[in-house]
Point group: C3
Chain length 436, copies 3
Amino acid sequence: MEITKEKAARTITSKAGQMHQLITELFPICRSITGDGVAQTLNIIKRDIPLTIHKIPTKTKVFDWEVPKEWNIKDAYIMNSRGEKIVDFAKSNLHVVSYSVPVDRSVTLRVLKEHLHTLPEHPDWIPYRTTYYKEDWGFCMTHNEFKKLTDDVYEVCIDSSLKDGYLTYAEYCIPGETSEEVLISTHICHPSLCNDNLSGISVATFLAQELRRRKLRYSYRFIFIPGTIGAITWLSMNESRVKNIRHGLVAALLGSDGSFTYKRSALGNAEIDQVVEAVLKKRGVDHKIVDYSPYGYDERQFCSPGFNLPVGSLTRTSFGQYPEYHTSADNLELVKPGALEGSLQIYREVINMLESNKRYINTNPKCEPNLGKRGLYNMVGGDEEGKDFQFALLWVLSLSDGNRSLLEISKRSELDFDLISKAARELYEHQLLLEL
Amino acid sequence: MEITKEKAARTITSKAGQMHQLITELFPICRSITGDGVAQTLNIIKRDIPLTIHKIPTKTKVFDWEVPKEWNIKDAYIMNSRGEKIVDFAKSNLHVVSYSVPVDRSVTLRVLKEHLHTLPEHPDWIPYRTTYYKEDWGFCMTHNEFKKLTDDVYEVCIDSSLKDGYLTYAEYCIPGETSEEVLISTHICHPSLCNDNLSGISVATFLAQELRRRKLRYSYRFIFIPGTIGAITWLSMNESRVKNIRHGLVAALLGSDGSFTYKRSALGNAEIDQVVEAVLKKRGVDHKIVDYSPYGYDERQFCSPGFNLPVGSLTRTSFGQYPEYHTSADNLELVKPGALEGSLQIYREVINMLESNKRYINTNPKCEPNLGKRGLYNMVGGDEEGKDFQFALLWVLSLSDGNRSLLEISKRSELDFDLISKAARELYEHQLLLEL
Amino acid sequence: MEITKEKAARTITSKAGQMHQLITELFPICRSITGDGVAQTLNIIKRDIPLTIHKIPTKTKVFDWEVPKEWNIKDAYIMNSRGEKIVDFAKSNLHVVSYSVPVDRSVTLRVLKEHLHTLPEHPDWIPYRTTYYKEDWGFCMTHNEFKKLTDDVYEVCIDSSLKDGYLTYAEYCIPGETSEEVLISTHICHPSLCNDNLSGISVATFLAQELRRRKLRYSYRFIFIPGTIGAITWLSMNESRVKNIRHGLVAALLGSDGSFTYKRSALGNAEIDQVVEAVLKKRGVDHKIVDYSPYGYDERQFCSPGFNLPVGSLTRTSFGQYPEYHTSADNLELVKPGALEGSLQIYREVINMLESNKRYINTNPKCEPNLGKRGLYNMVGGDEEGKDFQFALLWVLSLSDGNRSLLEISKRSELDFDLISKAARELYEHQLLLEL
């Protein structure tokens, strides 16, 4: 017994460790919405799950947008007149504003400053900045280093390229009994930032690994996409497939110690909204539920009025609500192995409830069926659990009209979802329910 | 004046006394879900109201069930080796588990104990137990007597019979102006227990007696049925008639001092639900309103999803919520004459409100009608009641669209139901309303 | 700058003063539901706005009513035996019960008293009384004067006429881009009473003057009508036009210091109800919102079930809720210039919001449109207002499904209506919205 517990503890530690290890391996890569960094990232994930990689050419029309040029970068620095590299891309890929055009020139301090970004309120952190849709260049640095800059002539070099190429994304679909799909989407466009969003990538990857080994009712589609333009591109490429999506989650910000935040779909009371809320409540973890708003991550696209998919976003501390967000402090120390595994656990339970949350029709709706003759009437005096199970049988029979899900029956009856689910299986076995 | 008051008081006392007297007469009879006890009971009620008695043969298929064998019992006892009857059916019919098969044998104390039921927490009370759907036998006794049992050989005798026969129930329909029905159902299957449910039988009987003498809008159907199997049998025999039922109440547990409990129909906001709630509120009596659940009395069958009738349950202290429930302490002392009459009073007021709670259409919906030319505009300064009546006229005109009932108009206007009802009659007399 | 402020202050003062001046001019006229006083009143208003005056003959059938006889009065008094006029119509037109039939006779004190009305609780005030629908006569006087009456023979003279003639009302319609109308109704039947309702007349007149000079989306119909019978007559004469009314307000009681009261339309959540509530909330003024009831002013007719128009009533201290109501104390001191102008300001803002509160359809509903390429993506760090404007753009795109108004989007997004409205105009300019 002692031994089994210890072994279980080791296994748990090991899963948490593996989740953090994947983040550690992906951390140094310079990702953006296009470019080699994305491809490298997907190749590493592909060792664990059989991703299909899609490459969409620059200028492809995707709804109101077009696929941008591909951006790649080899090196970048700012050098002072003494030949010292005072900012060096080799030390952190956050130093260069993402999508900076190539530059190689000498500039005065005044001109240089127009291209520098710092965080005066966090003088030791490097900010993360992008210029995807405006051709420009820039560097990010700590405010402490910035304050040391003297009146000098600086050589600035960004050895980048911005030309026609591809936007790359990947997907992996695990087929279930039905073609109805659960969509798990995570963004892969951030460079050396851990919580946003290597944590999402790690949770999605490990969740997919688990689900591969299970018998599933729904099909599960995992997509690894650059933020915004990636979601728009995926939706544009898969418009006809969207009708199969029954539930979905945008997975991000899952590695910090923060409590959970669930942002509802724009529908507001979709089954996924009910299920996530029920799981968080049942687990007794600190959490908050917020209504949909049209800013955040890729739920903005999935929930746009032309799609209005039942897709919510399940994160820990949410989008922009922690100081390290989009800075060099969102690093390998910010994300905790235990927090990653805790997030995976919640995602797993959400899926378990989705899988079980069926709708039935009572095949014998006129009066109660005779449970006794089927051996289902066992209410022995004093047996509280048995009594609750009897009640669960009666509630499921009473409310199974084909419209109410088991979760709704659980809420109405104030009986635990698992007990209701067990009662439904029992009644189904005795042909007292038809599954829808 | 003084004399009239006194006489009224005597009449009231007399009604309460008669209600208790009926219970006293019915108390000794050994009822069960079938058998002679039921027939005897119905014959006594038939003296007061012209019941029609129905006998349904054993094995008749009723939905998912079949009518059980008929059970009768002549005598039963446990005798010790000294020839002393230590448990004797003649003393209380609760001593025998209802539906016990015949038995006549000698048993050791160990074997006997497997067939004995007691209430250790109430050592002076005999529990009430049944074994309707499993052929078995047993005795119930006080725990104090049980503790005196010594290692001995006991003769156990149950002179019962369980064979093909009939399930008996009765009904009485009082025709009204319309074929729309109000159903009052009460169960008649309990042996010497008073609150559950001789009190329900008494209230239903006296209510039916009153209604016979009134001009009624609805037809009233009273049914006296064994619990569960009786309701199932009645529904099965009357499936085509069910469509006429507009409102219904399951009457039980109406004799104790407890405050009222109204359990809503499964519909949740049927007119009967609104009316009972309004009457209890208006009367200012202690009460609670609870949502439907699929356990309790025969509302379980009437509200089963295949029927989903607007039938609630109006009791005092509810099902299983008082210690004497299903024990020998539910006796002639537990039920009080005043409580019985108070229950009858509430039932009467519910029926009064149902009868008055009509829907009208304003025949003159464009602008206010000229009330003055009809002598309906009498708002004399300082006359609060006259003013409220004016308001009532205006509210009824304003809201009578054919959908809203007078009770709904009373709630919206915050004016008393009787005032609204009086205003509606006045407007109807002046042809300003059409009755629906 | 200083000068402009001062000038502005003078202009404001001037408007408030003009509003009060109009009331002062109208105050002495003896109005009733018919008669010359109404015509005189409308002729004065006509100097400011081009009223169309309608005269409807006595006995014209208007729904359940008919137009009453026309009432006019030249003089009236009560004279004691010493030849002193102890009550004199020339001093206050409130002294005569409106619609009193002619009388010229000598009466004892006892008989006289049957025709006198006073306010014992306010002994210095003269009450206002009418006898429109019952041929009768009477005088109103202060209770202090009443107490001085001695046993005497009094000559009572009412030099009035009650004969076939006309009911007079006026309307003024300001055409807008569409034939959809906003109705502003105010009653003109009260004699020398200021708050009720010369204040409503003044606010309606000045509002109409302002709107004449504006480009408007809706057409605005102002009606100046006698209470009750005037509204019934107008509805009867304009039954086919009523379908154009999209929103409406009954304007009255707008001159006292009291806080605002908005009485909802019978619909309860019409757009006018939402808009007035939003304006009062946004302005931060003390106010209360009350549900519709079928007593009050002419909303009773507009909201009667046969019309059920979206017409609310926006007053200050409401109908009958202030002591001076319907007494001689509702005079030129009770109404304040500043209060009148404050009321006008609220009406103006209600109209501004109605004009702006459009519904749009997102022309690009699949994913977000590319705001950047249209120069609409300017979220500069640290610019809170710019950020809120970005959010407003996204919310309008997200919720513009053709059903939701901008006000509803403002509530859902918790962003200011004007910001939402500005965002909608910007998106409309860029053809990202279609106007409905």
